[in-house]
């Protein structure tokens, strides 16, 4: 596959604060690539560097083999769909979409036909004369996409384009965007902080945190083989435990030795062990590799989400079998359900459901000490 854009050792600071730290990223032709990460991790800044609204402090932006660090936005063959669309309020739908063509002095008849073609692509025929301010959010979104696509850019940058839409519309637009990308063959660089959206739409997912790329991979790779505790926790639910590699394909955690499929670690190397909630089988206590007590059960429609206390560590398990609170159960874990990660700066920060609640998710990035305190308090509350 052909590389369209290469970011090489990009570093960018604002007011002395490092926002992007040594970013290296290759973007390929015809790819749907998603930048995924929590708020403030530098996704928008990365897009703005590619679009040309910012220039890197250090590093090179390569477009089709040429350095474009100093090429202004209007000369880059890249277009952006802005988060809040940024449609021109003084122009109607037709003129908004025709905007780039008028700048290039394309003949009238050609403008007419290309705009109509674009409006067909985004299902907005008959809206030509409408004022953009009279459109619904979803319609404005489509105008913005049509406007960005009409000059056939090599790359389309989309900054959380679906964030302002309600859930239903969001789902529709997701599949529509995917369809448009397939139909046009244009490379999409898509920004979101919604992991589900990232997994379902992308060819490649780039997980970012604190200005650094944590992992680049296909959605399946990212989900099944997370690089570190941050990625494991950010993409879906994970139980993350301290473990020790005993040998190739043998790991010990929670006071038990497990067979696994990972190898290539040193003997007795401390590691993080990830086990997805849906990969744990519930068995009778005698048959279990681990034994614990159910502390809570939540019905979620397709399955139950249960929290199990195993030697003080709370696991989250998703199961379709009903178990009761205070029931003693055993856990059975297949070797390929165990994923081993090297220790990282994020070790110990995620993957324990001791104080599982919605608010706790939000403060997942607190410093460890603060975290401990919060956890203890929560424990006390639970005890009462």
């Amino acid at each position: 596959m052909k590389k369209i854009i290469e970011l090489k050792n990009i570093t960018k600071s604002f007011d002395g604060q490092v926002v992007l730290d040594n970013i290296n990223l290759d973007i390929y032709d015809n790819e749907f690539l998603t930048l995924l990460g929590p708020s403030g991790c530098g996704k928008t800044t990365t897009l703005r560097l590619i679009a040309g609204f910012e220039s890197p402090d250090v590093g090179d932006i390569i477009f089709l083999g040429e350095n474009i660090n100093n090429v202004p936005p209007y000369k880059r063959n890249v277009n952006t769909v802005f988060q809040r669309y940024a449609l021109f309020p003084h122009l109607n739908v037709f003129e908004n979409v025709a905007f780039p063509l008028r700048e290039k002095r394309v003949p009238k008849a050609e403008i007419e036909s290309r705009v109509n073609e674009m409006l067909t692509l985004v299902a907005l025929n008959g809206f030509e004369k409408r004022s953009v301010t009279s459109l619904s959010g979803g319609q404005q979104q489509r105008v913005a996409i049509a406007r960005a696509l009409i000059s056939s850019p090599r790359v389309l940058l989309l900054d959380e384009p679906l964030a302002a839409l309600d859930l239903k519309l969001r789902k529709d637009m997701q599949s529509e965007l995917k369809k448009i990308q397939k139909a046009t063959g244009i490379t999409f660089v898509f920004v979101t902080h919604d992991q589900e959206e990232a997994l379902s739409m992308s060819d490649t997912v780039v997980v970012m945190s604190e200005g650094r790329i944590q992992q680049i991979g296909t959605p399946v790779d990212i989900y099944n083989e997370p690089e570190n505790a941050f990625v494991a926790d950010f993409i879906g639910e994970s139980n993350i435990l301290d473990g020790i590699m005993l040998a190739d394909r043998k790991v010990s955690f929670s006071g038990h030795v497990f067979d696994c499929v990972d190898f290539g670690f040193e003997k007795r190397q401390p590691v993080d062990v990830v086990i997805r909630p849906e990969d744990v089988d519930i068995v009778s206590e005698e048959k279990g590799m681990l034994k614990g007590v159910v502390t809570s059960v939540t019905f979620l429609g397709v399955h139950y989400e249960i929290i199990v206390d195993i030697n003080g560590f709370k696991w989250m398990i998703q199961t379709t079998d009903f178990v009761d609170v205070d029931e003693h159960i055993g856990l059975y874990i297949e070797p390929d359900a165990i994923h081993i990660m090297r220790k990282s700066q994020y070790s110990g920060m995620y993957g324990d459901y001791s104080s599982f609640s919605m608010e706790m998710d939000e403060i997942g990035v607190l410093e460890e000490e603060v975290m401990e305190e919060v956890l203890e308090e929560a424990e006390v509350e639970h005890g009462e």
């Binding site: 609204f53 936005p73 277009n79 802005f82 809040r84 940024a86 780039p100 700048e103």
Partner: protein, 293 residues
């Protein structure tokens, strides 16, 4: 539901009570004087209805002597056209200077913007008579301006008493009224729109022409209105800086008033007002039409 309605009604009652003083003020000081102007304009000294005053504005003639000889002219139409010419020139100069200035200020840092706007507004706190006197001393044949030319070894220029001096005075006095509305529209402009334009292929000039300019038109129109109208009816500047040689429509109204011809003064004022209203309506129309495209 009932509570909500009550609250809404009480809100509107309070609103109306709050607005009451303004309504009274507007009636007392805007509507009533306008009625008086109209009443005087269409009556004679005995307060009988007459169109004579209006007719006089359009038909009165006088003889003008200049290098080309003596001609008979329509006195007030000539004065009106002269006022219009000077006002339009001043407005155009204000616009040409004010638009780029407003744009540059709006792109500066927040701190610089505040300082610049303060600098523009400070002269407005000074009485306008004093400002005009200041210009007299600057522009006089032996004034500061010619003094500086002299220091540079240049010949003095005769400015005071020319149309140029009147225009300078008007531009100076009304410049803030041009720059402020344009600036306030530009400062509120969404930077994302400008980025979108650059992203879609516009260089800086393209962004200015295709996005900033059309979006700033409301500011431009209110700037034009706010400069054109006071400068068309100004009388003091022309007397002081034009040495009274350029009798303007404002001077005519004042002159008739001082001469105790209240009815004719009212008629001139009334006609001026109607003309300005028509001009503004036409301008507003074309502005709306542009906005609709």
């Amino acid at each position: 539901m009932g509570n909500k309605n009550m609250a809404a009604r009480r809100g509107s009652l309070i609103q109306r009570l709050c607005l009451a003083p303004y309504s009274v003020w507007a009636a007392l000081f805007i509507v009533v004087p306008l009625i008086f102007v109209a009443y005087y304009a269409f009556t004679d000294n005995a307060f009988n209805f007459t169109l004579d005053n209006v007719r006089r504005f359009f038909t009165a003639t006088s003889n003008v002597t200049d290098e080309a000889g003596t001609r008979e002219v329509h006195t007030y139409l000539l004065i009106f056209m002269r006022s219009l010419k000077l006002a339009v020139i001043s407005t155009v100069i204000c616009l040409i200077m004010g638009y780029p200035a407003a744009y540059i200020i709006s792109t500066a840092s927040a701190r610089t913007q505040k300082i610049m706007i303060a600098l523009i507004m400070i002269p407005m706190w000074m009485n306008f008579l004093i400002r005009t006197y200041a210009w007299m001393t600057i522009l006089q044949d032996t004034g500061i301006f010619n003094g500086m030319l002299g220091l540079l070894g240049l010949k003095p220029i005769h400015i005071i008493g020319t149309e140029g001096a009147v225009v300078i005075g008007m531009v100076y006095d009304y410049f803030p009224y041009m720059i402020l509305p344009i600036y306030s529209v530009m400062a509120k402009m969404d930077v994302k729109l400008l980025e979108a334009a650059r992203d879609l292929g516009c260089n800086s000039f393209g962004v200015l022409r295709r996005v900033i300019w059309p979006l700033s038109l409301p500011g431009v129109f209110s700037g034009i209105t706010m400069v054109l109208i006071p400068s068309i009816s100004t009388f003091y500047i022309s007397q002081k800086l034009g040495n009274g040689k350029f009798y303007l429509i404002g001077d005519a109204i004042e002159g008739q008033y001082v001469a105790n011809n209240l009815h004719f003064a009212a008629a001139i004022a009334f006609i001026l007002m109607v003309i300005l209203l028509v001009c503004m309506a036409v301008m507003q129309r074309s502005a709306n039409r542009r906005a609709a495209v």
